[in-house]
Subunit: 95 residues, 5 copies
């Protein structure tokens, strides 16, 4: 999984995603300290991640593996909101 | 998912895709403001995206997850036409 | 999907691919105008693409989605022979 | 599969992963001699890999192929703890 | 599929791969002429590829599509030992 921060939203009208109420977030990928990389992707959010929160993102086929996304054409999903990251036994990110 | 703009079409005769009437679009990937990157891919379109429209693209295995593409050998699909993108609470793209 | 030109063939003896008569093509990826990039891959061909023809290639899991490749360990497949590509309403490649 | 070393952990509260007790490790990818690349990812660990251990990581859809991760939205999994690597008939890494 | 040469082996003790007797090879990717790129990966081998042999490698989800690897967490598999490659009608690699 990769890390990123929520920086915005993407609104689509004509859709072919087979899901109603899908919320697409604009995510800027971050390193493990939460610093943005300027590397953007669009991910489906089903857990209500808020603006500027750091999230854990699953990409590719496993994105479909939640009750709501089974057999749906999504390739990026927010799977968790990050609370804390430690590296070399030091806390390097805290929500 | 990634963002891109429709810049053209690709026509194939001999095909092995198991679908009739498939429409292949030439897509130039864009950043979140709709600026083209010169990074091209070919995606299947089933929703009628038009020339120069900004679209949301799913890549890889999830591209098969629509009624028409189930068990078909596509690895890129247009899943939505983008209406609006906001970043840091400002609208940065509007159709 | 990506674009490429057929530049050669790859012959394997000991195989673990569960398919007889598989033909592996050496493909050089191209841009949308058919110019080679020097970025090679090996793809399975089931439609008889010829030397120097421009083809449409599906990569990853969807490569298995044809009657002959179902549940076979291929990650790249020729899905079509390209006849024509237009970009910005101009024909930029013709077979 | 790729190689990496365990450098930390990632803790999430709100989750959409359908698994309780999942342990997310912060992994720094390494070359075959165990030298870190500064290329980080977050992987699920079910075998108890410890701090600074070199591990083998599966990415993408196959990460779901263990009894605990079947049909779960993970795209990276620790599949083994590396004991020894040889290259050109010389041992280049030993745990 | 990609090309590579067998340069070593990787031995793991604690494993979560659900397969006994799996043999992990250290592979250095090569170009079509068999020249090493210094780009390493670890692949499962079930056909007995030997040291310095050039092999064809499938990556990602299709790696599971052999009788022994069905529903196992592997993302790279040796699918063939390369005998011969021709490019532009000249033999550029022979075992």
């Amino acid at each position: 999984m990769n890390l990123g921060k929520v920086v915005g939203t993407v609104v689509c009208s004509s859709k072919n995603d087979g899901i109603s109420g899908a919320r697409y977030l604009l995510i800027d990928k971050t390193n493990q300290r939460g610093e943005k990389k300027g590397d953007y992707l669009v991910a489906l959010d089903l857990i209500g991640a808020g603006y500027n929160e750091m999230v854990l993102i699953t990409e590719g086929s496993p994105s479909r593996e939640t009750p709501l996304t089974v057999n749906k054409p999504f390739d990026a999903l927010v799977v968790g909101i990050v609370d804390l990251i430690d590296e070399n036994n030091k806390v390097i990110y805290r929500k």
